[in-house]
């Protein structure tokens, strides 16, 4: 074999294990659950191979699934907006701080390394009946009875915001840090106020980072089932909880396949729209 041919083959040899793994462990399984979603769970517990539309009929027409899907999108939307409102000023502070930016950013990223389950359950210590908040309020005498604050939609959103905020901060920071501060100074010297300069120059330039952070918060938030299980009440199930129920509890795998694909379709559509207008490059910047 010539040197050139060997040179041309080399990258593919290096890539093949990773590409093979992704193909075998992700792409083929995804195709497989498309097929599986048309099979049928029989009363005997065995899966009937064939082409049945029952699962899809159930998923697409049952109001129960529709309501939970809408509720999931609502929770994810609120979470994303709250993350943006909390995270943008914080990221702006880090990017424009005269102090050590790397340390400030690292500090805010630290919770990102702390286990998701620990961070989620830590709110029970704060908001529980004998948690920090109630103990404090009882102690200073504002309340006589501990307040029941946990296990509702608000605490689910709170837990999700706590989990996802670092993604938002990091993405906005990457965007803001890349903006030349001279632009704002130029706007000022041309007569714009600080606020005008921010709204008309900095904010538009940082929108790609905000969008990337928003996408991550939304998609990760809408795909969770642990937070509602730990911090939500019985009526706060999200769509991924339905998938978990179908697959793990009821062992109805064909129905679970259809529900998973439904979730993938909704969230995948968002990723595709994002990719169409902004491209994946921005997202990679924030992740790497």
């Amino acid at each position: 074999m010539s040197v050139e041919a060997r040179e041309a083959r080399q990258p593919w040899i290096l890539l093949s294990p990773a590409l093979g793994a992704v193909a075998l462990l992700l792409f083929v399984p995804l195709v497989f659950i498309v097929v599986y979603s048309f099979w049928l769970r029989t009363s005997t517990g065995a899966d009937q191979v064939g082409f049945y539309l029952e699962n899809w009929q159930e998923v697409l027409s049952d109001a129960f699934y529709r309501d939970i899907l809408l509720n999931t999108l609502k929770i994810a939307s609120i979470t994303t907006v709250v993350c943006a409102l909390m995270g943008y000023p914080a990221a702006y502070f880090i990017a424009r701080s005269s102090g050590n930016k790397a340390i400030l950013l690292l500090l805010l990223m630290l919770p990102f390394w702390i286990s998701y389950i620990i961070r989620t359950m830590s709110w029970i210590n704060i908001l529980g009946v004998s948690g920090a908040f109630n103990t404090f309020m009882l102690w200073i005498g504002i309340i006589d009875e501990p307040l029941q604050m946990l296990y509702n939609q608000t605490t689910v959103i709170l837990g999700l915001v706590h989990f996802l905020l670092p993604f938002m901060v990091l993405n906005v920071f990457v965007s803001l840090d890349g903006i030349d501060t001279n632009l704002e100074d130029a706007a000022n010297s041309l007569g714009a106020t600080r606020w005008q300069a921010f709204v008309q120059v900095t904010l538009p330039l940082s929108l790609p980072g905000l969008a990337a952070g928003g996408l991550l918060c939304f998609v990760l938030g809408a795909g969770t089932y642990i937070t509602p299980l730990v911090l939500g009440g019985p009526r706060d199930a999200m769509f991924a909880n339905l998938v978990f129920e179908a697959i793990i509890t009821q062992l109805n795998w064909p129905l679970g396949s259809a529900l998973s694909l439904m979730l993938l379709a909704v969230l995948g559509a968002l990723v595709l729209i994002y990719n169409r207008y902004l491209g994946m490059a921005q997202l990679m910047k924030g992740l790497g």
């Binding site: 793994a21 992704v22 659950i33 795909g223």
Partner: protein, 267 residues
């Protein structure tokens, strides 16, 4: 700077401090309560004590979960880093046709919701005759951590200059010698960073793990999850504290090592 003395900047600073408090307060409370002498996992603090850490060390279920998580994390890091480093080398060092397409494919496991990835892998491998088991768990963790490894390693590989390798080649080293004696040592910080990243993500994962783990096998996060079903016990807080120090301490240590190695190699 004059701009930083105005009220707007003050408001932003106060806001940012509030965000830091929001992020750290719950975690700080976990650590605080883990040293509480009281037998309930809650306030008030009745004294300072290590008893919950001592009980933790005697809890068979937790120790078993800890071992499972360590082995799973280490194996995940090994496989994921090997696959990731090879792929990153190809993407950074060669002009591969369809580079963007390939990158997107390799990143796909984090673009798909983890629940969907979990279901697809579970059902497909079960169909192939591999039921819920440790290998399934490992396969899941490898595929889920691979994109993170590739992103981290790629970012670091870009900064290694090819000149040094070309110098070695022109001085008569074989390509194999060049790789093992020049490229690999220069890549070590990237490899370590990727491995640590994979380990930490695997060690923390619960979303996929709950789908893939066989009955009776628990990792640390699923063990905590199972314990939460009853009520929050002081042991959970103690375990949380151990996890916090592990998952925060390890990457910081790795970062420090990487810095040191890089500064030695760079000068």
């Amino acid at each position: 700077m004059a701009a930083k003395t105005n009220t707007g900047w003050h408001l932003i600073r106060i806001w940012a401090i509030a965000v830091y408090v929001f992020m750290f307060l719950p975690v700080a409370v976990v650590v605080l309560l883990s040293f509480n002498a009281s037998q309930f996992g809650s306030f008030p603090m009745t004294g300072f004590s290590f008893r919950w850490f001592a009980e933790l060390a005697q809890n068979e279920a937790i120790l078993r979960a800890f071992r499972t998580s360590m082995i799973l994390g280490a194996l995940t890091a090994l496989f994921s880093t090997t696959l990731g480093v090879l792929a990153s080398l190809a993407l950074v060092r060669y002009n591969v046709p369809g580079r963007n397409m390939i990158t997107t494919m390799l990143i796909a496991p984090i673009l798909v919701p983890e629940v969907v990835l979990a279901v697809a892998l579970l059902l497909f491998l079960n169909f192939l005759g591999l039921p819920k088991s440790f290998p399934l768990l490992l396969a899941g963790h490898v595929i889920f951590t691979l994109p993170f490894v590739i992103l981290v390693v790629q970012a670091r590989l870009v900064s290694i200059k090819r000149d040094i390798e070309e110098a070695a080649l022109s001085l008569g080293a074989s390509p194999r010698q060049t790789f093992f004696e020049i490229t690999l040592p220069l890549m070590m910080p990237a490899v370590l960073a990727g491995g640590l990243f994979a380990f930490t993500i695997s060690f923390d994962d619960i979303t996929g793990t709950l789908f893939w783990k066989p009955g009776g096998v628990e990792t640390v996060p699923t063990q905590i999850f199972a314990m939460l079903r009853n009520s929050i016990s002081p042991e959970i807080n103690a375990l949380g504290t151990v996890m916090i120090f592990m998952t925060v301490g390890l990457p910081l240590l790795g970062l420090a090592i990487a810095r040191r190695v890089a500064s030695k190699g760079g000068t």
